[in-house]
């Protein structure tokens, strides 16, 4: 617009992917919205009435939205108003939903959020790749025998970058579909810290649990990694669909919980406990063996704690068998 001082308001029409598409300058009130051509803002939406709504100032000069002859009504900042209703619009502007069209009414009173800093340059975010790379290479080195062939290093040295790049490229394709940009860097910035966290958890926590002789902590590592994995996935999805963060959180949480429940029920069935590993199998290094030792007799005494749960399980098996026998007799 050549003369911004004439602009009373701005109406932005959002595309389905959440980006603002068409913008309409408002230089005079009232503004009529609807599908018919006599409206100031003509909406190409089958769910919008020919004359759907009107915005105009009231006697006090405050903007009021009047819902006209529409069956679907209007939502103002999430609040639904049926035909014939009118509502005062906030000075800061509002988000309006007419049919399937989402509009934002921007007013001069709108407080503007401060400028967002640009994401760090790719080089800076790649700094995180260094500890990740070091961690994976170190784990691989430990697994190789000394003097291993150079090709034995390829899985870690080449495999990790290729896998990370492939992963980020897939997510970037998702961004391309939903946001029209191939945001490889954005997904790389998400992947690196989460992957580093999961790897660090895998490398350090078992040793910590073994050093402190805390089997409970050791058993928690696997569920913790599942949670980290779910959060990682959520971060990618939220980056692809920023307007649906809440839905994504709920969906990821639901999938994680359902998956965990199914997996736990299988584990419970075969091991009668919540963990597949019956004991803490990580052994502490002699230097990090911080927990004290007990006399062998203490362990032998501790076996008594096994008797009751085993007896309970035997009892349960017997009851199940009796039920089976009873049902087969019927």
């Amino acid at each position: 617009m050549d003369r911004p001082e004439q602009r009373l308001a701005l109406i932005e029409c959002f595309e389905r992917d959440g980006r603002a598409g068409r913008t309409i300058d408002v230089t005079a009130w009232p503004v009529a919205l609807g599908r018919a051509l006599h409206n100031h803002v003509v909406l190409d939406d089958a769910y919008v009435a020919p004359s759907h709504a009107r915005i105009e100032p009231d006697a006090q000069g405050r903007l009021v939205l009047t819902v006209l002859d529409t069956g679907n009504g209007v939502s103002v900042d999430g609040q639904h108003h049926a035909a014939g209703a009118s509502c005062k619009l906030p000075d800061a502007g509002a988000t309006l939903q007419l049919g399937q069209t989402r509009l934002r009414l921007r007013l001069p009173g709108e407080p503007l959020a401060p400028e967002k800093p640009l994401p760090p340059a790719a080089a800076a975010s790649l700094l995180l790749a260094l500890p990740l790379y070091a961690l994976v290479a170190a784990e691989h080195a430990l697994a190789l025998d000394p003097g291993a062939d150079a090709t034995a290093w390829l899985p870690a040295l080449v495999g990790l970058p290729v896998a990370v790049a492939g992963w980020c490229a897939l997510w970037a394709l998702m961004s391309k579909v939903f946001q029209h940009r191939f945001d490889f860097g954005g997904h790389l910035r998400i992947t690196l810290p989460w992957l580093l966290a999961i790897e660090a958890c895998d490398a350090l926590l078992p040793q910590l649990a073994a050093a402190l002789a805390w089997p409970g902590l050791w058993q928690l590592i696997a569920p913790l990694q599942v949670v980290l994995g779910a959060l990682w996935l959520r971060a990618h999805l939220a980056h692809v669909l920023p307007l649906h963060r809440r839905t994504i959180t709920v969906a990821v949480a639901a999938v994680t919980l359902a998956g965990s429940a199914i997996s736990l029920s299988f584990i419970q069935r075969s091991t009668d406990s919540w963990s597949r590993a019956p004991y803490m199998s990580t052994l502490p290094l002699p230097a990090t063996h911080l927990a004290g030792t007990v006399a062998p007799g203490v362990l032998v005494e501790a076996m008594s704690a096994l008797v009751e749960p085993l007896a309970r399980r035997v009892q349960k098996a017997r009851e199940e068998e009796e039920e089976d026998a009873a049902s087969s007799d019927e």
């Binding site: 430990l142 190789l144 069935r269 019956p278 004991y279 030792t293 007990v294 362990l299 704690a305 035997v314």
Partner: protein, 489 residues
């Protein structure tokens, strides 16, 4: 435990069974074969035909030269004179014992048996009639003689430990006048190499005599078992093995499939005991789990007692005393990694008992195994050694919930054996139907070495909780220092 580092790939390979393990796996299979083979369906149960089923045909060519099928109606086959005489004398007392489903005539297991008195008492293996003993409501027992007489049987008593059962014909008149197989007196030991004859109905093909030699008791066996140098096939289980006078030396029970003509007999002594105990017993009509449990508990008490009384042997390790059992009733096999390997070096010892007790289905119990692996990571460095040492400790199965036993439950502690720090895990599984019996597993790893260590595992199948505690304490006591604390390798 496993051996890592024997090959370049970093992931720990699954441990192949050692020679000992493999042999005993096969030995166990041999016993099961004597049941499973017997399950082979025959086209006409009354008149077993050689072409009755594919499994029978597959087995038939492997029958040794000494075993000759002798169906009653057939022409006289070529037998040694003694074999012919034995068969003629015993054929009236020889029976086939079949377990049938109560509701139909299909046989679910067949074995052999023999009359031990004029009143219609007969002896067979426990494993031939185990399905009836454990589920009498679903099965029934019948016999068939060489001359085609058939009738119902009652189970009077059994000895699950020695794998024997005492039965009686429901109608004593049906087998009257057939005489009985007499037991060779205990004070007349048979010389090694003497000719003996095993009789039975192999694979339901027809009654047969298998000639072989008597080779004395099996060495290093907890339960006295006789070594029969002849062939036993499935279906002959429970048949008599007789001396040249036709007196009972033992009862056919099992064979090894990894050797030639290595078969086993239950000696006459437990037959005599069972006969005395069960002669006047009332027939068994309820599931015998409580009685099986009682016998297994008595067995495990004696086994634990004798095992704990034996001192541990030295493993010859320069740094640690490692518990290795005496070989009175266990057999140990050793193995080491090849010297040229760059990775983790190890030496391993696997000790296991010969005697295993068949209870039913796939359940074998009542035995001990002791195993250790001594690791040397001096070619690896501290961190690489720690990685492999931990992986090795992880690679152990403690057992999941199955038909017979619960899943394992474990307790773990870092313990101190006179200054030697050890990580020890004790796991127990309870038997669902053998109340009071458990499988014990004790896993131990030394924690002091930066580039060397020992991991051991002790297993006791079918022991009471009290025995499990005593055996655990005994096993842990076997670990100690040999070299003083400050000596490092």
């Amino acid at each position: 435990m496993h051996q890592t580092g024997v090959a370049d790939p970093p992931r720990p390979p699954r441990r192949p069974p050692g020679p000992g393990a493999r042999r005993w796996l096969q030995a166990g299979l041999a016993l099961l074969l004597s049941v499973a083979g017997a399950v082979t369906p025959a086209a006409t149960p009354e008149r077993p035909a050689p072409s009755s089923g594919p499994a029978v045909e597959a087995e038939a060519p492997s029958l040794p030269a000494g075993t000759v099928g002798a169906a009653p109606a057939e022409a006289e086959p070529a037998l040694s004179g003694a074999g012919q005489r034995i068969y003629e004398r015993t054929r009236a007392r020889l029976l086939q014992v079949r377990t049938l489903l109560k509701t139909q005539d299909s046989q679910s297991s067949v074995g052999s048996g023999f009359l031990v008195d004029e009143a219609g008492l007969l002896v067979t293996n426990y494993h031939v009639i185990s399905q009836f003993a454990l589920q009498p409501g679903r099965h029934r027992l019948v016999y068939a003689t060489v001359d085609g007489v058939q009738g119902a049987l009652e189970l009077l008593a059994f000895d699950v430990v020695h794998d024997l059962a005492l039965l009686r014909t429901a109608d004593p008149a049906s087998l009257a006048g057939r005489g009985a197989v007499v037991l060779r007196p205990a004070n007349e030991p048979l010389p090694r190499g003497a000719r003996i004859f095993a009789l039975g109905n192999p694979l339901d093909v027809g009654f047969a005599v298998a000639e072989g030699s008597y080779n004395g008791p099996v060495e290093r066996s907890f339960l006295e078992t006789l070594f029969f140098g002849g062939s036993l096939s499935a279906g002959m289980s429970g048949g008599p093995a007789l001396d040249e006078q036709g007196r009972l030396i033992g009862v056919n029970v099992a064979a090894r499939r990894d050797g030639e003509q290595v078969s086993f007999l239950v000696p006459a002594a437990p037959v005599r005991t069972l006969l005395e105990r069960g002669r006047h017993a009332a027939p068994i009509t309820a599931p015998s789990w409580p009685e099986v449990t009682r016998q297994l508990l008595a067995h495990e008490a004696e086994l634990s007692e004798r095992f704990i009384a034996l001192p541990w042997r030295s493993a010859g390790h320069p740094r640690y005393a490692i518990p290795v059992p005496q070989e009175q009733f266990m057999r140990c096999w050793g193995r080491g990694s090849p010297q040229a390997v760059r990775g983790l070096q190890f030496e391993r010892s696997d000790c296991a008992m010969d005697s295993r007790i068949f209870v039913g289905g796939s359940l074998l119990t009542g035995f001990l195994t002791v195993r250790h692996e001594a690791y040397d990571g001096s070619k690896l460095g501290t961190l690489r050694f720690a990685e492999r040492y931990s992986s090795s400790f992880r690679n152990e199965s403690m057992g999941i919930d199955d038909r017979h036993r619960t899943a394992a439950r474990c307790v773990e502690r870092s313990i101190d054996r006179d200054g030697l720090p050890l990580k020890a895990v004790v796991c127990l599984r309870a038997y669902k139907k053998l109340e009071g019996l458990h499988d014990l597993s004790v896993l131990v790893a030394t924690l002091d070495g930066t580039q060397a260590g020992v991991q051991g595992r002790f297993d006791a199948r079918g022991v009471s909780f009290a025995s499990a505690q005593r055996l655990t304490a005994h096993y842990l006591d076997g670990f100690a220092w040999i070299a003083p604390n400050n000596v490092s390798r």
